[in-house]
Amino acid sequence: MEVLVYLIPASLFLGGLGLAAFIWTLKNRQYDDPEGDAWRILSDEYDDAPPEG
């Protein structure tokens, strides 16, 4: 059962990573326009990308 010493922190860390990612998307306002984002992916133009050049 000693293996739990590694496994539990590891699983919590990975779960926490997921939570952090979720909070990041939330702060980034990625849930404001779900419909628009679904269409934007089809657009040929870069948007929200760093300016080219």
Partner: protein, 732 residues
């Protein structure tokens, strides 16, 4: 907000190079940096090409710093320098084929409801993360971990669960506290109690090396209930933002004539008694007053329901809300803002509204039965077991298990899940639901009362006797009618054009505001206008007269065209067994004609706003629950007094504000479907309550017998929540 330059921004060239992200994250800061935020409504965009098209046009406009389209809200947010005019942007887009309107940014408080939604989503995410982890640890315990391992797992669960409960369940605690301090019981009281007791007792059990801990139950309770709360919030914020958008389309301003004769656009709130304002043709009169100069015709239909425009010259009194049709007027202000006739109508509304506030929603009624029952049951379990065994710890355990297993989860999801599904369906049909309990109230309706002008009818006249005129007369009438912006003239011109007739050559066209249009045709004077002006007698109903030289003037008669889908709506509602009435402030003849064409047998004409409220009160006195459909200012009192109310999107701001639902679809034909959906939604809610009750009937005896393990609680909770949600989806 001050326009202070922000040194941190200026010091960082990378920020200046990529301002879009920065401004998206903080619009307030963008405004502070000297830019203005412009919000445009784009009601017709629907695809990827629309998004890029609109953004490209906006970004190509000089002065625009960033532009972002939100397809969900059908809106574009633009950050631009002070030199950019919102109306110019809207015009540019409209010309490119994307219909756009300027929105009053102050009215759109999207930031507020957005923040509340994000806040709930954050709490939901944290609760979901914690629930999953604790669930995993619990599975180990359920499958037989013992002694030190079990204790370790329980302690880790506690370390995850307690901070999560403290953070995620805050909305419930706050509501419960508010209810308790007002000496009421609502759904949040048993919810908060269950969460707190489950967490507290589990902590105590863990410290005593106990076998059962309910950390997972406390968390799944929080998670499922937050999900219900979030759905609720989202549905309402979509409807609210759309309703706000309608309101923001009207910016209350007036053209004040200054002492030096110049005209300045002034907010209505800043006008004073004795000011002079200019009302251009086509505009709504912003104040109560007396005409100082000019002649015109006024459309009073919004205030009184009369479909016939009235003549107004110097010395005539005008009221806020009337529409000036033909000539420019200068009006001396006698009352502005709340003291106007229009403002006094608002007081009628406030009085009528108190009646509606007495309605208790289904959820509240369920809570009123559920909350005391659950608390008494838990208390009885504790007392019974303590009396039988004398073991306080065991008794408390069983009492808490009872409290958890009675599943406020399913009850908490029962209403929001159905409301979300139903309002999503109605939103696609063009109906916005503004009030949380509107659907429930609509389901109880047995009588429908329609207003006439602007609701059953388009408020747009149609000529009916074109066939009586010769081609030559029609050609002259068309030439004259095209010289005026009067609604009768426009309707006439449109109808004649539709018959493929081209205008005659009429020279010297001149509009005489308030009277009509005149010109010269083949050496004779020709006139189109009011009866008295062309030298004819009065005719019944709405008419405009054509006089050619010295021939006897002849009348074009008009009827108010029925709104699309009106007869179907009436027939559909009657087929559902509802009683349909028509009440209007218009003349008997006009109301009777409309009632006949729409298929309504009961009608009341020449009703003042007070009469409408009295009729609704009388119907309510008979025990009837009334749906009021209306659009005018004279309907606002009646809309507020009715059990539930709907107004078309073309209605005036004041009418939309008091209505529970707004119909954005042009056709009335959806009304029977709305009523049917509301009844279906109510049926699903009741079914959901039944499902929750069934679960309780099975699980409560188990809990009281002391057989409810944390595993049973977890199963009951998830099972009933999923059942309730799936049942709700059937409304879609």
């Amino acid at each position: 907000m001050t326009a202070e330059p922000r040194p941190s921004l200026a010091a960082c060239p990378a920020c200046a190079a990529a301002p879009a992200a920065e401004e998206l994250a903080a619009p307030e800061r963008a405004a502070a940096a000297g830019g203005a935020e412009i919000v445009l409504s784009l009601p017709e965009i629907h695809c990827a090409a629309c998004i890029t098209g609109v953004e490209k046009i906006l970004r190509a406009t000089p002065g625009v710093r960033s532009a972002r389209v939100n397809l969900t809200l059908k809106r574009a947010t633009v950050t631009a320098g002070p030199e950019v005019e919102a109306s110019a942007l809207a015009e540019r887009l409209t010309r490119a084929g994307f219909r756009a309107h300027e929105l009053d940014a102050g009215m759109i408080s999207a930031a507020g409801s957005d923040r509340a939604g994000r806040d709930l989503l954050m709490r939901l995410g944290v609760a979901g993360f914690a629930m999953m982890n604790v669930m995993l640890l619990s599975v180990a315990v359920w499958s037989g971990a013992t002694d030190a391992t079990r204790d370790l797992f329980h302690w880790i669960s506690a370390a995850i669960a307690l901070p999560t409960v403290a953070f995620s369940a805050q909305p419930f605690f706050r509501n419960a506290l508010a209810a308790l301090s007002a000496r009421r019981l609502n759904m949040d009281v048993p919810i908060s109690l269950a969460i707190l007791l489950a967490a507290g007792m589990s902590l105590y059990e863990t410290s005593q090396h106990g076998e059962h801990a309910y950390f997972d139950a406390a968390l799944s309770l929080t998670f499922f209930l937050l999900a219900g709360r979030y759905l609720d919030q989202r549905t309402r914020s979509v409807a609210r933002s759309a309703a706000q958008e309608l309101a923001a389309l009207e910016v209350p301003r007036a053209l004040r004539i200054e002492a030096d004769g110049s005209e300045r656009l002034t907010p209505v709130a800043e006008l004073n008694f004795g000011d002079l304002v200019r009302v251009p043709p086509g505009a709504r009169v912003p104040v109560d007053g007396v005409i100082e100069d000019g002649e015109s015709e006024l459309d009073r239909s919004a205030l009184t329901g009369e479909s016939l425009p009235v003549f107004a010259g110097a010395g005539a009194a005008v009221s806020a809300g009337e529409v000036n049709l033909t000539g420019p007027l200068a009006v001396r202000v006698t009352a502005a803002g709340r003291e106007t006739k229009l403002g006094r109508l608002a007081d009628l509304v406030a009085m009528a509204e108190t009646a509606r506030n007495r309605y208790t929603s289904l959820a509240d009624r369920a809570a009123a039965i559920y909350a005391p029952a659950v608390h008494l049951l838990a208390l009885a379990a504790f007392a019974g077991w303590f009396w039988a065994s004398g073991d306080a710890r065991l008794s408390l355990n069983i009492a808490v298990a009872t409290l958890i297993i009675t599943c406020p989860c399913a009850l908490g999801l029962a209403v929001p899940a159905v409301t979300t599904a139903a309002s999503g369906r109605l939103y696609r049909r063009g109906v916005l639901i503004k009030s949380a309990t509107a659907l429930e109230r609509l389901a109880e309706v047995d009588t429908v009362v329609f207003d006439k002008t602007g609701t059953l009818t388009e408020g747009r006249p149609e000529p009916v006797n074109l066939g009586d005129f010769s081609r030559r007369e029609l050609e002259i009438a068309l030439a004259l009618a095209e010289g005026s912006a009067h609604p009768l003239a426009r309707a006439l011109a449109q109808a004649i054009r539709a018959a493929r007739i081209r205008p005659a050559h009429v020279s010297g066209l001149k509009e005489r505001p308030g009277h009509g249009v005149e010109g010269v045709w083949a050496g004779q004077r020709v006139r189109l206008g009011r009866a008295a002006w062309v030298g004819a007698g009065e005719a019944n109903g709405t008419a405009t007269w054509l006089a050619i030289g010295s021939e006897t003037p002849r009348a074009f008669r008009f009827v108010d065209g029925l709104r699309e889908g009106a007869p179907e709506a009436v027939a559909g509602l009657r087929a559902q067994g509802l009683r349909v009435l028509l009440i209007s402030g218009d003349s008997r003849a006009a109301v009777e004609a409309t009632a006949q064409r729409a298929g309504i047998r009961e009608w009341h004409a020449e009703a003042m706003p007070e009469d409408k409220i009295a009729l609704l009160a009388a119907l309510a006195g008979e025990g009837r629950r009334v749906l009021m459909v209306g659009d005018g200012l004279n309907d606002t009192g009646a809309l507020a007094a009715a059990h539930v109310s709907i107004s078309p999107a073309s209605a005036l701001d004041a009418a939309r504000t008091v209505s529970d639902m707004v119909l954005t679809a042009r056709s009335l034909a959806v009304l029977p479907e709305i009523a049917a959906t509301a009844r279906a939604a109510r049926r699903r809610v009741l079914e959901n309550f039944a499902i929750a009750a069934l679960y309780n009937m099975i699980s409560i005896p188990l809990a009281l017998a002391g057989l409810a393990s944390p595993l049973a609680a977890a199963l009951a909770m998830s099972g009933s929540s999923i059942m309730v949600t799936v049942n709700a989806l059937r409304v879609r």
